[in-house]
């Protein structure tokens, strides 16, 4: 029996590692994004501070720390102070349930490469994601300014709408893994990644998380041209930096969740023999998924607000319900018929639904474009 205090020490160290990894991840994600965006726009990007501009995030941090903190005269001071913290917390809290790897033997004992393996981890993610709206709403309200308020309104409506599709698109994963524990979900993907079984589910989940973290093309709440940065318009200095940090940490977290749910998490060749490779694979998968997010931002224009809403409710929600139904049918037929071919019914049928969705969107856009009344 290992003494109690070493267990506490282990948890403490792991929590510190996760928080610092997210902090450094945030700093260098901004650098990664600026460099990648610059390349896509045939610019060079930040390259002055340090070799290849690697010290740029640190320079930015120092600048933000020494900036003057302003707060509007008519702001609700306490909430105004609280909301950046409320925005940042959920992304760190979700980090606790993500499995970064399996178990390694260090210092003569088994160390799990995750902080907590709770058996309702999927629900935990949904719960914390739903709470993360508060920071943004309260920031908009407490600033007592109309642009901030409009940004917060848009953001609330958007996040509530896309949360529905997000929650439902988690169900196929639970059905396929037959568990709500993130670790068991990863282990269930040893034979096949879930993205192969349920490509449409992965796509819906990814689109919904893009809307949840307010990334382009769903960055309505910020919309620089219309709302002058939306809900955080009145914030400056470190408070603004906290909002910024929250957005980028959420990007990292949702990429990690997507990797866990659909892309095999920490699994990869040689991982079974050398579990320490797990975090490396996880890191690589997160980097690739983050690159796709940046790529989307560089390529796609912002979607108009009414279209954003109708896309969420009329396309994503029915499609996610269809994925749940088809996954359940596939698994049921597999159980009844004991024929592995039925598992392939799931991807084929979900791709069919995807095709119907694409045709539907295309027709609707054509109608909107050519039928002037």
């Amino acid at each position: 029996m290992i003494t109690d205090w070493t267990l506490w020490l282990e948890w403490f160290i792991k929590a510190l590692v996760i928080i610092f990894a997210l902090l450094i991840g945030f700093a260098y994600l901004t650098y990664y994004e600026r460099r990648a965006l610059a390349r896509m726009q045939t610019r060079i990007g930040p390259n002055r501070a340090g070799p290849y501009g690697l010290l740029q995030p640190i320079a930015d941090a120092i600048k933000l720390i020494f900036k003057e903190e302003l707060s509007p005269a008519k702001a609700y001071k306490f909430v105004f102070f609280l909301s950046p913290i409320l925005t940042l917390l959920p992304s760190i809290v979700i980090g606790a349930v993500i499995p970064w790897g399996a178990t390694v033997h260090w210092f003569g004992r088994d160390i799990n490469l995750y902080l907590a393996d709770i058996n309702v981890a999927v629900l935990f993610f949904a719960a914390i994601a739903s709470v993360s709206v508060y920071g943004i709403v309260l920031a908009g309200w407490s600033s007592n300014s109309k642009y901030a308020m409009l940004g917060a309104m848009r953001s609330t409506a958007q996040m509530i709408s896309y949360e529905v599709a997000l929650g439902i698109s988690l169900t196929p994963v639970i059905l396929l893994a037959n568990s709500m524990s993130m670790r068991e979900i990863v282990e269930a993907q040893r034979s096949m990644w879930f993205v192969v079984y349920q490509p449409l589910g992965a796509l819906i989940f990814w689109i919904a998380t893009l809307a949840e973290v307010n990334r382009a093309p769903f960055d309505m709440p910020e919309a620089e041209q219309e709302l002058t940065a939306g809900y955080h318009a009145e914030y400056s200095g470190m408070k603004f930096a906290l909002f910024f940090m929250a957005e980028y940490q959420k990007m990292i977290i949702v990429s990690a969740i997507l990797a866990v749910f659909f892309f095999g998490g920490y699994l990869g060749p040689g991982e079974a023999q050398y579990p320490i490779l797990g975090p490396v694979y996880m890191f690589a998968k997160i980097m690739i998924l983050l690159f796709v997010m940046i790529w989307v931002r560089a390529t796609w224009p912002r979607i108009r607000y009414d279209r954003l809403m109708s896309f969420g409710w009329k396309i994503l929600l029915p499609a996610s319900l269809a994925t749940v139904f088809l996954t359940a049918v596939g698994i049921l037929m597999f159980d009844v018929a004991k024929n592995a071919l039925w598992m392939w019914f799931i991807p084929v049928s979900s791709m069919l639904v995807f095709a119907i969705c694409v045709i539907g969107v295309y027709q609707a856009l054509r109608r909107l474009t050519y039928e002037r009344v």
């Binding site: 629900l123 935990f124 719960a127 709206v133 709403v137 309200w141 409506a157 509530i160 929650g167």
Partner: protein
Amino acid sequence: MTLDLALFLVLACIAVASALGMLLSRNTVYAALYLVLNFITVAIFYLLLGAPFIAMAQITVYTGAIMVLFLFVIMLLGAENLPAPNALPWQKPLAIALAAALFAEAAYLLIVKARSLGNVLPPAEAINATENLRQLGVALFQNYLLPFEIVSILLLVAMIGAITLTKKEKGARNG
């Protein structure tokens, strides 16, 4: 056990304080925030009782969805500040009488009838959490499938009703 008790006492204080804050706050946004805090403490109570599923559902449904809608409506209507209390003359004595009756009933049940309330299972050790989840699924979708479906249809009807009530009829605009 003592750690659980200490946790419970602290949480109970927070729960009662946030409930009082919700009632006494003159600003509706603050009242809503107190209610959010209260819901979160209730969720932690469920965790203490070994019911993680209900705890997470509590946070997702009440804290995450319903209270956000509340806040949304409060902000949309700009109804942050309540007007000065304009109580009806008979309201206060009636409220005091009803509160006293409720308190007396609760005290009677707790003190006098406590022995006859039946044995309560110690929840944390009753079943481990994974089994808990499985049993919940079996109970909802096998043992009580019909009531579950009826409740679902009831909620759907309520939702459609709300949409129908708020939607203007096509002819009504011109008339």
